[in-house]
């Protein structure tokens, strides 16, 4: 089977391998490469007074993007993405560890439970959070009831609610790669560490943790990168005060009707993301 595949895909029959790759390649070209090229072209265009696109090519939009007035948005976005990554890692690592090492026969049920948020629309999930976190929401009601507070406090439309939404939504992106890398560690490595005199904590520190680092990095990237472009969470749970890079971009397209500028911002974000992934791959190949 392996042989047949490598024969099909190998250098001896390039035609066959091209045929096999053709559907995927066509899909990628139509839905990824062409739109990206269009976006790049658009980013060089000029916005007309009535939101129409004038095809006089220049780097003006990029110059505008580096205007210091956008710096706070960028820093806020990096802060939220970084904070979310850190929090999901702190919450997700023990969870993934438990799933892999301790859950036993409950493992599959728990993994499915972890996936459930994926199956509900993000919009529905966030509106549910609004109901929970609002002034008259469940959380405030509970806090009042048990006497922790005397008047409803604002939980919604704070940095807390944005972070909560992001962590809620991206936790599975962190846990699954972590779980995958922990699951791949042969249990004999841990036993060998015990055997050589390492107690549980030392064995974790010296063997399990270093061997799960690829999962930590993959999970962090899978959380950090989409967080940078996330706009729904900030829009629904954060309000205008927590305007992030994603909101800035979506506003160019939906509100300001400045598509060329939005395209330039998108291209910059994409360049950073692809650059980051490329660096990771290089690091991974060396290790």
């Amino acid at each position: 089977m392996d042989r047949a595949l490598s024969w099909l895909l190998g250098g001896r029959r390039p035609l066959a391998s091209h045929l096999l790759l053709a559907p995927a390649a066509a899909w990628m070209i139509v839905f990824l490469v062409l739109p990206a090229a269009g976006l790049l072209l658009l980013s060089l265009a000029k916005n007309g007074p009535y939101g129409e696109i004038l095809w006089t090519l220049s780097l003006n939009n990029y110059r505008r993007a580096f205007d210091p007035k956008y710096l706070p948005v960028l820093l806020r976005t990096l802060g939220f993405a970084g904070g979310t990554t850190l929090l999901t890692l702190l919450l997700g690592y023990p969870l993934a560890y438990f799933l892999s090492f301790r859950a036993g026969r409950w493992r599959n049920a728990m993994l499915i439970g972890l996936m459930v948020p994926f199956w509900t629309s993000a919009l529905v999930a966030f509106y549910s959070w609004m109901i929970i976190l609002g002034k008259e929401g469940l959380l405030n009601a509970a806090l009042l009831r048990f006497g922790f507070i005397s008047a409803p406090i604002s939980i919604l439309y704070t940095s807390f609610s944005v972070l909560l939404g992001l962590v809620y939504f991206y936790l599975p992106f962190m846990v699954l790669p972590l779980y995958g890398s922990l699951e791949k560690i042969p249990r004999q490595y841990v036993e060998a560490a015990y055997d050589l005199g390492a107690d549980r904590w030392t064995a974790f520190r010296k063997v399990t943790l270093p061997l799960s680092l690829p999962g930590v990095i993959a999970g962090s990237l899978l959380t950090f990168v989409p967080c940078l472009g996330d706009f729904l969470t900030a829009e629904i749970l954060g309000g205008p005060r927590y305007y992030l890079l994603g909101n800035l971009i979506s506003n160019q397209f939906l509100m300001a009707q400045d598509w060329p500028f939005g395209a330039a911002l998108t291209c910059l974000l994409l360049t950073c993301l692809v650059g980051g992934l490329w660096l990771y791959r290089r690091w991974d190949d060396q290790a």
Binding site: A192, A193, D195, L196, P210
Partner: protein, 372 residues
Amino acid sequence: MSDETLLEIGPLTKSFGGSVVLRDVSLFVRKGEFMTLLGPSGCGKTTTLRIIAGFEAPDSGRVKLSGFDVTDQPPYERDVHTVFQHYALFPHLDVAENVAFGLRLRKAPEAEIARRTAEALQLVKLSGFEGRRTASLSGGQMQRVALARAIVGRPALLLLDEPLGALDLKLRKSMQLELKNLQKRLGIAFVYVTHDQEEAMTMSDRIAVFNQGRVEQIGTPGEIYESPKTSFVADFIGGANIFSARVLPAAAGRAHLMLEDEFELDVPLDVGERLPLPGKRVRVAIRPERVKVYYKDELPFGALRLAATLKDTVFLGDACQIYLELFKKSPGRMLTAVAGGDRYAVHDDIGVPVIAAVQPEDVYILEPDDDD
């Protein structure tokens, strides 16, 4: 048992999810002794090893190391190291760091770590491999690193779980001798798990033969081979013809047996050997290599004479296997003999009457035959 005893276990019982893996396993290991746990897969030998290491807790029974009960101690508190079946070398550390792992945990001084690591690598003939990644090593080299990692801390007892199982035959043979020499030189007691009876015979001071969660017999390779106590041991180590025999009244120190209701045998008993009462049945074993086949009545002195028909011969290269029909009442029950040379590998001989000769002391009396 003397004050030389290093490890004493028993009587261990263990079951996993309702299936019993160990039934009253007891044994002891002396200081510097090479003890092999031998048996087919699933016989409980690896579970016994894991209990000694501390990876499993027995359902009942104790593990005593140098006189101290360590049954409730975690593995990292026991002065015992393990060479794992698939080596379990840490992939994120190089060869030297793998070997030094235990020393580093004990916070040994850097100079000492370097010296002892180099020493251990030299013992396993891997000097110069310090900086290599473990993934780049061959199976034999990984095996040596695992060994160096386990002996560098000079434990009193080393546990080895089929350490040569993944190596090819030739490498395995040379590693057997090397391992045995190393063990003697270091004076570390080995508890060695294997399913390979030849390996056990070559290396061990004593062998514990496991079968279905029980220890069937413990003894030196010579004792196990020369006086097996059960048909399992006789068959598993060296191979044997196993028959059933009825006990007849006999003189003291001797056994008078009716083999498969056809041949009367008079054989001496080992010192201290007890026989069931006359009328009961026992199993007896005769090793193929102790059966001599003669075309004429020219028996050596004292040999038991068994008239047979030559049924088949199989040429094995350095020896020849001969199948003899011995019993008229159960013709399917053959006596197998093994002879050196090619003298018997003549197919024209098939069907001719021959005489099988066995020395009385080569008839081993085993356990009672429960079939009746």
